[in-house]
């Protein structure tokens, strides 16, 4: 599904956070890149219908989000937070099952179809063996995979992820990113924010760089990611050599 965002502006307490943001995201992985506090999370909240007072338009396919109810929106786009801490401990299977809630009538409990969706989501992410474990007792990386499975159980075409690797150790970062990449290859439209340009370069099909609320760059990672862009975003010197971003001044 194609996401089209046009002239999106948003202010918080008279401070502009997003200014005239315009972009398109196609199926595949789009990395939203930028330092902390440039409006990545705000952009996602607007797209998910969690922030209302914006101007401009956000369309999933041909549907304008402002015309959709939260339930309809939940049928189109699923959200994967950076981390999630429920008040009480739930079994992993039940956490994933909660992804199906939007499709249920308000006064019903998940049935056979929902259980199948949850099983399949666990299989797709490759964590079926965790199904009976207590979510709160898993490692951060495993929790993140459970949240991805929960989003898949929601059966949407769009996945929106807010820095899914921010709290993870190196191994789990790679594990999560590879999972996300394989989902993007299966045809999901993935929007993933990250502050790590190397992750964007290695895994994304497209990079959308935000800086001070504006789109600074938008295009294929190898074309867009340059020493100049990274200097603008983060104020540091780097060299981009092939698929690698190497910190430090140029040695040539």
């Amino acid at each position: 599904m194609t996401i089209t965002v046009e002239n999106l502006s948003y202010s918080y307490k008279n401070q502009p956070v997003l200014k005239q943001v315009t972009f398109r995201a196609e199926p595949g992985m789009t990395a939203v890149l930028g330092p902390n506090g440039v409006g990545k999370s705000t952009l996602f909240k607007c797209m998910l219908g969690l922030e209302k007072g914006y101007s401009g338009s956000i369309c999933f396919g041909t549907q304008e989000t402002s015309d959709l109810s939260p339930r309809q929106l939940a049928g189109i786009a699923a959200y994967i937070p950076q981390s999630s801490h429920p008040t009480f401990g739930y079994r992993v299977f039940d956490v994933v099952l909660m992804g199906t809630s939007g499709r249920l009538a308000p006064f019903s409990v998940p049935g056979k179809r929902e259980h199948q969706a949850a099983c399949q989501a666990l299989e797709t992410v490759g964590i079926a063996e965790l199904a009976q474990r207590d979510y709160r007792k898993l490692s951060g990386g495993e929790q993140q995979l459970v949240l991805i499975a929960r989003a898949l159980a929601q059966q949407t075409e769009v996945l929106i992820m807010d820095e899914p690797t921010a709290n993870l150790d190196y191994g789990n970062q790679i594990r999560v990113l590879e999972t996300v990449q394989s989902l993007a290859k299966q045809g999901y439209t993935v929007l993933m924010s990250t502050h790590n340009p190397q992750n964007a370069l290695t895994y994304a099909d497209r990079v959308l760089a935000l800086y001070r609320g504006r789109v600074q760059a938008d295009g294929a990672p190898r074309e867009v990611l340059s020493g100049t862009l990274i200097r603008t975003l983060y104020g540091i010197e780097t060299n981009v050599e092939g698929d690698f971003i190497i910190p430090g001044r140029s040695r040539t």
């Binding site: 909240k45 998910l48 219908g49 969690l50 939260p70 339930r71 929106l73 939940a74 049928g75 786009a77 699923a78 959200y79 937070p81 999630s84 429920p86 008040t87 009480f88 401990g89 739930y90 079994r91 039940d94 909660m98 992804g99 809630s101 939007g102 499709r103 249920l104 308000p106 006064f107 019903s108 409990v109 998940p110 009976q132 929960r150 929601q154």
Partner: protein, 330 residues
């Protein structure tokens, strides 16, 4: 918790409650045998004094204990979910003191019956919403904020109730109000119980229907919304229902503490946190617990021990056990 195992556990609880229900008829000064009880139920008991003891004295009291226990415990379980707070309970949120104030006000104004329940509900709802709004806006640790806000609201309503006692007619109204505040199941009468059954059912049925969505709310409002669950609407429905349960039980039996905090946690340990099983379990365990405690209350000593004292005696040590236990509690 596997689904089937949870269903078996619920079945076990139903059987336990039913056994306890029948055995409770045997307790008391007038000796009654189990077959007397069963005969009285189907109207075949020849000895009218036996059937009078069973149906007119013991039945109302036993029913009342079950209903009040079930209501308070379900209310606590529901509050904990929608406030995302393991410390939430009717007594801690101020729901009970709000209800007591409303009931006292109704007595002072000379109202009776459904009006007492209605005013208790109004006071209770006011207290919970005040505690929620204050706790929500305060900065810092949300679990503690809600508890502190509840303590403040509680104390405000208790002050109000004290004033009502002061201006109440010492001959007739004051004893009635005082009785409410102590919390007792001794005044059980069938017509009152039947009347309270309406708000109790009105509170229970929506809660049971919406119970899956309470799970989703424990992940926070934003996540719930992105999963297609309207968090504020679910919360409002649950608050109204749980408060209705609190108010109708307070207007029947006064303030009985600890049931709404301790039983939900006992059930969480027993059957897990999934509200699909947790809510029915807290209904059953709450009913069984208060019935059991009330049996002690009326048979342990020659004079009756007020039930509120006994629930505290049982509740507090269990709560300390939870706090000091291996599992993280808040």
């Amino acid at each position: 918790m596997k689904r089937n195992r949870a269903v078996w556990k619920l079945g076990g609880l139903v059987a336990l409650l039913m056994a306890l229900f029948l055995l409770s008829f045997l307790l008391g000064r007038y000796p009654v045998a189990l077959d007397d009880v069963l005969r009285s139920f189907i109207g075949r008991e020849q000895d009218t004094s036996v059937s009078a003891v069973v149906l007119q004295i013991r039945l109302p009291r036993i029913l009342l204990a079950c209903l009040v226990g079930a209501c308070l415990s379900m209310a606590g379980t529901a509050y904990q979910g929608v406030f995302q707070n393991p410390m939430a309970a009717p007594d801690i949120l101020g729901a009970s003191s709000g209800a007591a104030f409303g009931a006292a006000l109704a007595i002072l104004m000379g109202l009776s019956g459904q009006w007492i329940t209605l005013l208790a509900f109004a006071g209770s709802l006011l207290a919970v919403l005040a505690a929620y709004l204050v706790g929500q806006r305060a900065k810092g640790y949300k679990v503690v904020n809600l508890v502190l806000a509840g303590v403040m609201v509680s104390s405000l309503f208790s002050a109000g109730t004290s004033y009502l006692k002061l201006v109440a007619d010492p001959g007739s109204q004051l004893p009635e109000i005082t009785y409410w505040l102590i919390g007792s199941l001794a005044g059980a009468e069938m017509p009152q119980i039947k009347m309270a059954l309406i708000p109790m059912v009105l509170g229970t049925v929506p809660l049971l229907l919406i119970r899956w969505r309470i799970n989703v709310l424990t992940f926070g409002d934003e996540e719930a919304r992105t999963m297609g669950v309207n968090a504020s609407r679910v919360r409002l429905v649950v608050i109204i229902c749980a408060t209705l349960l609190t108010a109708s039980s307070v207007s029947l039996s006064g303030m009985i503490g600890w049931v709404g905090l301790v039983i939900p946690h006992l059930c969480r340990r027993f059957i897990g946190n999934d509200y699909r099983h947790l809510l029915p379990a807290s209904l059953l365990v709450g009913a069984a617990f208060l019935l059991l405690v009330d049996n002690f209350s009326r048979s342990l000593l020659a004079t009756e021990i007020p039930i509120g004292i006994l629930t505290a005696l049982v509740g507090v040590p269990f709560f300390i056990y939870l706090m000091l236990g291996e599992e993280r509690f808040t």
